[in-house]
């Protein structure tokens, strides 16, 4: 698979179809993967693909990476889950479909965090998204590397995130509130969650708007709560549950619980799942006479 990937990258760079290939490479010790930007065909051999390739590289397609855009038209190595984010970016007019060459990577799952890798992939170290993945054969691509997989996701979603959501749903609202206040109390306001998210592409985030100061900058319960709730709301109907925010959180706030809950809520209310069709718009930015109005009581 890696050979096909490198071959394709070389071909794209040599023909001038793209000027940069955004993909994964090894760190110095070959223990972890890290994003690489290949601009010369002779460097294409640096590209790798394996279960350590956790990063969602679609972030580098967003507007704020001006120095990457300056390199020219990009090709991107993307797993099905990463492609979902590219699809949202296209549907929100952040990226043009023809502006990026998508090298879809067939995927059999990745690790939840690279530190968990002990030489072998097993369900215990995979994130919930991988257990229920319906895009292991990438769905929107210009080229696919890797052998087709016949994995079918379970009917009833499984995995820790769903288990914990079910647990939380059983709690009373005040217990749930207590749970989240406790979790958010660890927030250090580093905004790693936002920076890691390709759908958090606002050039000026609400935290940086200070007239008035909507979100208090201090890492105290009030400021932490408003930040985390606002971010969740801004991602409702858009988030693809890629898990980059939770993976990036240095204090392990279980953001995947918030995100998946929102995914479920939007699915129930609008029968919409983000990241599958670049021609469809997220429900929160369109009006339809068929929209349910059951929230008006």
């Amino acid at each position: 698979m890696e050979n096909a990937l490198r071959e394709k990258a070389r071909e794209l760079l040599t023909s001038g179809e793209v000027q940069v290939v955004i993909g994964y490479g090894w760190n110095r010790r070959k223990t972890r993967t890290t994003p690489v930007f290949i601009t010369r065909s002779e460097d294409a051999d640096r590209l790798v693909f394996n279960p350590l390739c956790v990063n969602n590289l679609s972030i580098y397609l967003t507007r704020k990476y001006k120095d990457i855009q300056a390199l020219g038209r990009p090709a991107i190595v993307a797993k099905g889950c990463d492609i979902k984010n590219i699809v949202v970016l296209i549907s929100e007019s952040q990226v043009k479909r023809e502006g990026v060459y998508i090298i879809g990577a067939t995927c059999n799952g990745v690790v939840y965090k690279q530190e968990l890798w002990a030489g072998e992939l097993n369900p215990g170290i995979m994130p919930t998204k991988c257990h229920n993945c319906d895009v292991r054969n990438p769905h929107v691509t210009d080229f696919v590397v890797g052998d087709k997989t016949d994995f079918t996701p379970p009917e009833e979603p499984t995995g820790m995130v769903f288990d914990r959501i079910r647990e939380l749903d059983k709690k009373t609202p005040s217990e749930r509130w207590g749970f989240w206040i406790e979790e958010f109390s660890r927030c250090i306001k580093c905004y790693a969650c936002r920076q890691a998210c390709s759908l958090c592409y606002c050039e000026r985030c609400i935290t940086e708007k200070n007239m008035p100061q909507w979100v208090e900058t201090s890492a105290h319960p009030r400021g932490n709560l408003s930040w985390n709730l606002i971010r969740a709301m801004h991602l409702a109907g858009r988030c693809t549950f890629c898990g980059e925010c939770e993976r990036s959180c240095p204090v392990n706030i279980p953001l995947n619980l918030v995100n998946q809950k929102l995914v479920l809520t939007v699915k129930d209310a609008f029968s919409y799942r983000s990241g599958y069709d670049e021609k469809e718009h997220p429900p929160m930015i369109v009006y339809s006479p068929e929209d349910k109005e059951n929230f008006i009581k």
């Binding site: 890290t34 580093c190 240095p250 204090v251």
Partner: protein, 339 residues
């Protein structure tokens, strides 16, 4: 200097003796599936199986957020009161020798000409009990920055684990001597049998030469080298490295509260944030992520050695472990050393 023996079973008593009088005992413990420095009240809240906690204990000398003044806006003026702090005795147990070296760096920034008493008062009340490392991971690089599990700089009491899980303690500073005297009943005479476990000394990364790095950075023309963008293009500016770094000291001062009363706070900030240096005019001297990353590197390996102390980076490896894109500072150190 003779070693004393601190028995594992006496840790509970030590914690109790420190906290009973209102003192604070900070030690590594499990929280949200990670080992962190946190305040403990009993020994069973501690963990002994860790390389280094994910957070720095700088939080206890330089808190994430702290009130520096309070104000009330009245009809005929403003009432303003500066915050006065009287920090409790604070003990950090289980620091690693790399991180212990960082306090001197923080202190030199916070006492450079103007003295920040919010920092000094806390640090004056802080005693650092270092436990030397018997293990390391791939990210540890203390020996590359001229430190090692054997270095005692910054530690007040230096402890080595024995095979039985007890600790051989030696006082390094006057503060450490005073600490061991104050709690002398818990520091017993060590018998000859009590042998320390072997320390684990991480291998020095061959291709890195701190002196060359500093000299290369001394040349201002190298600020425009394409290497910066190439090596740090992947950084997405989350700031997690700075928040977990024991020598990062940048902060913001902000007013918070209601229309009529509130407080001035000093909050951690990060040079990796786009808005960190953004002028009101809209001009930003560091308008690309690689320029912000360049500043962090420059700060550690040129500004610190030139202006403050030689130790801008202690090699604890936290920034590498925490980085969502695995941007490895040692790879940049290596690349620059090769220039």
């Amino acid at each position: 200097m003779t070693d004393k023996l601190l028995k594992r079973e006496n840790l509970d008593k030590l914690i109790g003796s420190v906290t009973v009088g209102g003192g604070v005992f900070v030690a590594p413990g499990m929280e949200a599936r990670r080992v962190v420095f946190r305040e403990v009240t009993r020994a069973d809240e501690m963990t002994h199986d860790y390389i280094i906690p994910v957070n720095s204990y700088k939080d206890w000398v330089f808190p994430q957020t702290e009130v520096i003044a309070r104000f009330a806006i009245k009809k005929d003026g403003v009432d303003l009161k500066g915050e006065k702090i009287e920090p409790p005795e604070t003990v950090v147990f289980g620091a690693r020798p790399c991180e212990a070296a960082s306090l001197a760096s923080l202190r030199s920034v916070f006492t450079w000409d103007f003295i920040d008493e919010f920092y000094t008062r806390r640090e004056d009340r802080l005693t650092v009990l270092t436990v030397a490392c018997t293990a390391a991971d791939d990210e540890c690089f203390c020996t590359t920055v001229e430190l090692s599990p054997e270095s005692t700089v910054g530690s007040d009491v230096y402890l080595k684990e024995t095979a039985d899980g007890d600790y051989l303690a030696s006082a390094i500073t006057d503060k450490g001597t005073a600490f061991m005297e104050k709690y002398s009943t818990l520091f017993e005479g060590a018998s000859a049998e009590a042998k320390p476990k072997e320390l684990f000394i991480p291998e020095k990364i061959d291709g890195i030469d701190l002196d060359r790095i500093k000299k290369w950075l001394d040349n201002k023309d190298h600020y425009d080298d394409p290497l910066w963008a190439e090596l740090s293009r992947k950084c997405f500016g989350c700031g997690a490295c700075t928040f977990s770094c024991p020598t990062c000291h940048c902060f913001d001062i902000t007013d918070e509260g209601t229309t009529y009363e509130g407080e001035k706070r000093k909050n951690w900030d990060a040079c990796q944030f786009e808005h960190f240096t953004l002028h009101a005019s809209g001009h930003n001297p560091r308008d690309a992520q690689f320029k912000r990353w360049r500043n962090r590197f420059m700060c550690k390996f040129n500004i610190y050695p030139k202006k403050f102390t030689s130790t801008g980076c202690v090699g604890c490896g936290r920034c590498i472990r925490v980085c969502p894109v695995r941007h490895d500072i040692t790879e940049v150190m290596e690349a620059i050393s090769g220039r």
